[in-house]
């Protein structure tokens, strides 16, 4: 059988293949990403020829979709690469479909986008990316890029003059409301998530195990995990990340936010706090992905602008599962930058 399950004892050729065709992350990264050595169901498969050549690979990050009444196994398939051989890619996809339950992917390569509809995959265009500039440096660069050549200098000066307008206000919390930094989410947080899951459903899992896997155990540093405290107890969380984008700007990501859903005031305070923290941390801009109408209103009020859709392709969604357009989606679900 040429299709093999990726495990901790997979030959070096597989990891070399991943480093060559996906990105040069090294074995530690792939061990983390596909939970090799952990007691977890298989999440990646590769095609190995009898002579040891690796022809293709497909990898998934498993999760669960919480609807109000049920929990459905699901997986994001995040790496799908084929070296050669008509049908190897489809064979691997079939293997993943059989192993996954609901299978999801993001926009994908042009080839992926051509192939998936033919296989009955559908697309949700509800999630969108939102951006808020936080420094004059970024605004000046944006303005210069959009202005006609002779006006670029003027555009830069005008953008720098807008600096006071970019300043984030320090959020004012009612007493007892705070964000508490943690290295990892404690297992006690699962009780909080269980309560929130009914409010955020349909949503992918956000329990301590899943968040720690994605953020705390990620081999590269950068995630900031915070518990939301209100009225003397933990009621939600905020996850953010600061790094440098390809253009050299400091990118601040609001990766995920969960709060008592009925409290629009707490949602507003969370997003305002995130912006304030990211600006103090040196971010040139804040960015997030969202799909929920209530969060959309909050970020609009916090001067974010929509920058486009994040198409999500899906397959094998059971009839009793809610429509993907209604899912609560954030960067936690679909950020491939670090994965």
């Amino acid at each position: 059988m040429p299709i093999r399950t990726l495990d901790a004892n997979a030959p070096d050729a597989v990891f070399s293949f991943l480093d060559q065709v996906i990105s040069s992350r090294g074995r530690e990264h792939w061990r983390w990403k596909y939970r090799l050595g952990a007691a977890a169901p298989p999440s990646a498969f590769y095609w190995e020829e009898p002579d040891g050549r690796i022809l293709g690979f497909i990898g998934m990050m498993r999760t669960n979709l919480h609807s109000r009444s049920q929990c459905h196994p699901a997986a994001w398939f995040v790496d799908w690469h084929v070296h050669a051989g008509a049908g190897v890619g489809l064979g691997l996809l079939r293997k993943a479909e059989a192993a996954a339950g609901i299978l999801l992917t993001l926009q994908g390569s042009p080839d992926t986008r051509k192939i998936l509809p033919r296989l009955g995959w559908k697309q949700s265009l509800t999630p969108t990316t939102w951006v808020r500039p936080l420094t004059a440096r970024l605004l000046a660069e944006w303005a210069a890029r959009r202005a006609a050549a002779p006006l670029r200098g003027v555009a830069r000066v005008a953008a720098r003059a807008a600096k006071p307008l970019l300043r984030c206000r320090e959020p004012v919390a009612s007493s007892g409301t705070a964000l508490v930094d943690v290295d990892r989410f404690p297992v006690e947080y699962d009780e909080v998530w269980r309560a929130r899951a009914t409010e955020f459903a349909p949503a992918m899992s956000r329990d301590s195990s899943y968040i720690n896997y994605l953020c705390a155990d990620y081999p590269g540093a950068g995630y900031r995990l915070q518990l939301l405290r209100d009225g003397g107890s933990t009621v939600g969380h905020l996850i953010s990340r600061l790094d440098v984008d390809r253009r050299g700007f400091r990118r601040g990501r609001i990766v995920d936010a969960v709060w008592p859903r009925s409290s629009a005031a707490l949602a507003g305070w969370l997003i305002q706090s995130a912006c304030w923290q990211l600006q103090r941390g040196g971010a040139d801009y804040a960015q997030l992905v969202l799909s929920a109408p209530d969060l959309r209103e909050v970020v609009r009020r916090n001067r974010f602008r929509c920058r486009g859709t994040v198409p999500i392709w899906y397959h094998c969604v059971p009839p009793e599962a809610p429509d993907p357009d209604s899912w609560y989606i954030t960067f936690l679900d679909c950020d491939r930058a670090y994965r």
């Binding site: 084929v82 008509a86 190897v88 064979g91 079939r94």
Partner: protein
Amino acid sequence: MTTNNDQMRRQLVEVISRVFRVAPEVVERGVSPDRIEGWDSEKHVELVVALEERFNVMFEAEEVPELTSLEQMEAILSRHA
């Protein structure tokens, strides 16, 4: 008398002919990715989907890349019969 194998061969020729837009006579002489122009991974997906629809089967993951000649298609489809 038409046998099941003849019928399967005729249906296969028709599907392949339609997917790759080549004359049935060309298909009958034998097909492979080397012999049919434009048989890339995308066309292969189209072929697999068309075969599954026509024969009402779902190919196993390992079978998909094997569907590259009339003989192999017949052998695999026979296993699903």
